[in-house]
């Protein structure tokens, strides 16, 4: 745990995978680089139909932490925000390298690389804000010092609810490659961030809302403050009470398993990361106030 941020993180197996005796296909990690003062969080969700996607998501997370941190250091992105088109170009290069690593792994293990299909969400938390990039679905967002919860990626969805793309999908040679990889540079005062696999999105994000004027539901992509603000307060208390990072993660995993009815009933694997800034007492104070005001 670094001294600037506390991050609760866990991946837990979904009910349908327990019934079918399948492993959890989600993976995640968070790493802070104190010399350069930035952190990277990664979430990967293995494809349900791919035989070794649990392994695929582990590879994606490990490689993404390694390659993206190297890129951020080499290009000095931790100090100076990149232009969005440059960040996108570099992200595509890094994801392509990870894809090549996955192919190599498939060859070594004599398995089809597509059986390692997995999504990827990469969020780097910088002193100036966030740089984010991703392939596939899942969600990510942040809280700024004005108390606004905002999203920092838009998931890629196919026509159907259960369709998306993976790092192993056939888009690498396509002319429209850029439409499959979103990259954003956000300059804002970030005081909390979140990443999640789609198994958590119904709980943690507002996805649609009824508009009484149009009499239609409208699609949303907003982190839900009713969920997050409470847990920011709890996380802060747990940290203050001296609990170890592993103890907090264990409580977080139990919460994802059965802490809310919607989590308990969720058939899919669930990964959720929630990070809060703890270095600035004024900012954390404001978070608590926001929570109390609601």
């Amino acid at each position: 745990m670094d001294k600037n941020w506390i991050v609760a993180k866990a991946s837990v197996i979904g009910n349908s995978h327990i019934k079918e005796n399948l492993p959890c296909q989600d993976s995640h990690d968070y790493k802070f680089f104190s010399d350069e003062n930035f952190g990277i969080a990664v979430v990967s969700d293995g494809a349900g139909s791919a035989d070794f996607s649990d392994l695929g998501s582990i590879i994606v997370v490990k490689q993404a932490i390694e390659h993206f941190s190297k890129l951020i250091k080499t290009e000095n992105f931790y100090a100076i925000p990149p232009e969005e088109n440059i960040w996108k170009e570099k992200s595509i290069e890094v994801f392509k390298n990870i894809f090549e690593e996955i192919k190599k792994h498939g060859e070594n293990e004599k398995i089809n690389y597509k059986s390692l299909a997995a999504t990827a969400i990469v969020v780097a938390i910088m002193p100036y804000g966030i740089i984010a990039t991703h392939i596939g679905d899942g969600r990510a967002g942040y809280l700024n010092d004005k108390g606004e919860w905002l999203s920092c990626i838009t998931p890629y969805k196919g026509e159907l609810a259960n369709e998306t793309v993976f790092i192993t999908s056939d888009f690498w040679e396509k002319e429209n490659l850029e439409q499959f990889i979103e990259s954003r540079v956000i300059q804002d005062s970030v005081v909390a961030f979140t990443l999640l696999s789609d198994g958590c999105e119904n709980v943690c994000f507002e996805l649609n809302k009824f508009n009484s004027e149009t009499q239609l539901y409208e699609r949303l992509n907003n982190p839900y403050s009713g969920f997050y603000n409470h847990n920011i307060g709890v996380l802060k208390s747990l940290q203050s009470s001296g609990l170890l990072e592993t103890e907090i993660d264990s409580m977080w995993a139990n919460f994802l398993k059965s802490g809310l009815e919607s989590f308990t009933n969720e058939p899919d694997d669930k990964t959720l990361l929630l990070g809060i800034k703890i270095s600035n007492e004024t900012e954390t104070e404001q978070i608590t106030q926001t929570e109390n005001a609601e």
Binding site: A8, G14, S16, D45, A47, G48, S49, A50, A117, T119, G136, D137, K157, G158, L160, A161, N162, E163, T164, F166, D198, G199, N202, V203, C204, F205, E206, L207, N208, L216, Y217, E218, R219, L220, Y224, G226, F227, Y228, N229, H230, N231, G233, V234, L235, S237, L238, S241, G242, M251, W252, F255, G259, L260, E261, S262, N265, P267, D268, D269
Partner: protein, 237 residues
């Protein structure tokens, strides 16, 4: 550490509309379905609704619509979640305008998908379930329907599942069925058994994760009938 109670993670869940999983039942209500068949079909429909209600996820995601065909095509039940309507009781009348019934269902599916899109609701691939104990009237455009089902199934616009009740025209059902979903014969008049299997199968679709392959259990009566059946697997794109 202090003696104060350890705070617990919680908060509220966002209140979202769940993704929708549409099942459109296209049911034969011609005169040949009179007496026991229609009675058992009506009971089976209630079993279907009960099966969906028992699954907490399916209950919030599965929409059921009912179109009947005899001499006329009627939308008896607009697509709706199982808690939003009472299962209707079907009555028989007239001949078998099966082709028109299925075509209406295909149009309904597309209209409903438009509605989902306008409403920002995600949806699974809709299922059209045809149940008949005969074959279409002589003046019906069978080859046109075969083509429409083929295009719709291959384009993954919908899943087409034909079900044959005793007396069904096997050759016709073989002709309109797609390789992934061969015709499924009913075990006598055991509509209840079929609808229990269907509710379980559709529940598994409604809970499927991204790009997850869904394999339905093989119906346990399949070997008794000597016709139709097979393995039913829904592959992601």
């Amino acid at each position: 550490m202090s003696n104060l109670p350890v705070p617990t993670f919680g908060g509220e869940s966002a209140k979202n509309q769940e993704p929708r999983c549409l099942v459109l039942l296209v049911l034969d209500t011609s005169y040949s379905m009179d007496l026991d068949p229609i009675k058992e079909l009506n009971k089976g429909l209630i079993d279907f609704a009960d099966g969906i209600k028992r699954d907490p996820t399916a209950r919030k995601r599965v929409e059921i619509g009912i179109i009947t065909f005899d001499s006329e095509i009627k939308c008896i039940q607009e697509p709706a979640l199982v808690d939003e309507f009472t299962m209707p009781t079907l009555v028989v009348a007239g001949t078998t305008k099966l082709v028109d019934g299925v075509r209406t269902a295909i149009n309904f599916v597309e209209a409903r998908k438009d509605w989902y899109r306008k409403n920002g609701l995600d949806y699974y691939r809709p299922h059209i379930v045809l149940m008949t104990d005969g074959g279409p009237d002589g003046d019906q455009d069978i080859s046109g329907l075969v083509q429409e089902i083929k295009i719709g199934s291959q384009g993954k616009h919908f899943v087409f599942m034909p079900v044959g009740v005793i007396g069904a025209d096997h050759q016709f059902l073989d002709k309109i069925a797609q390789p992934d979903y061969p015709p499924l014969p009913l075990d006598g008049l055991e509509f209840g058994k079929f609808f229990k299997w269907l509710s379980k199968s559709i529940s598994s679709v409604s809970k499927s994760a991204t790009n997850e392959k869904v394999t339905f259990e093989n119906p346990d009566w399949i070997n008794k009938t000597g016709w139709g059946g097979g393995s039913f697997t829904q592959n992601p794109l």
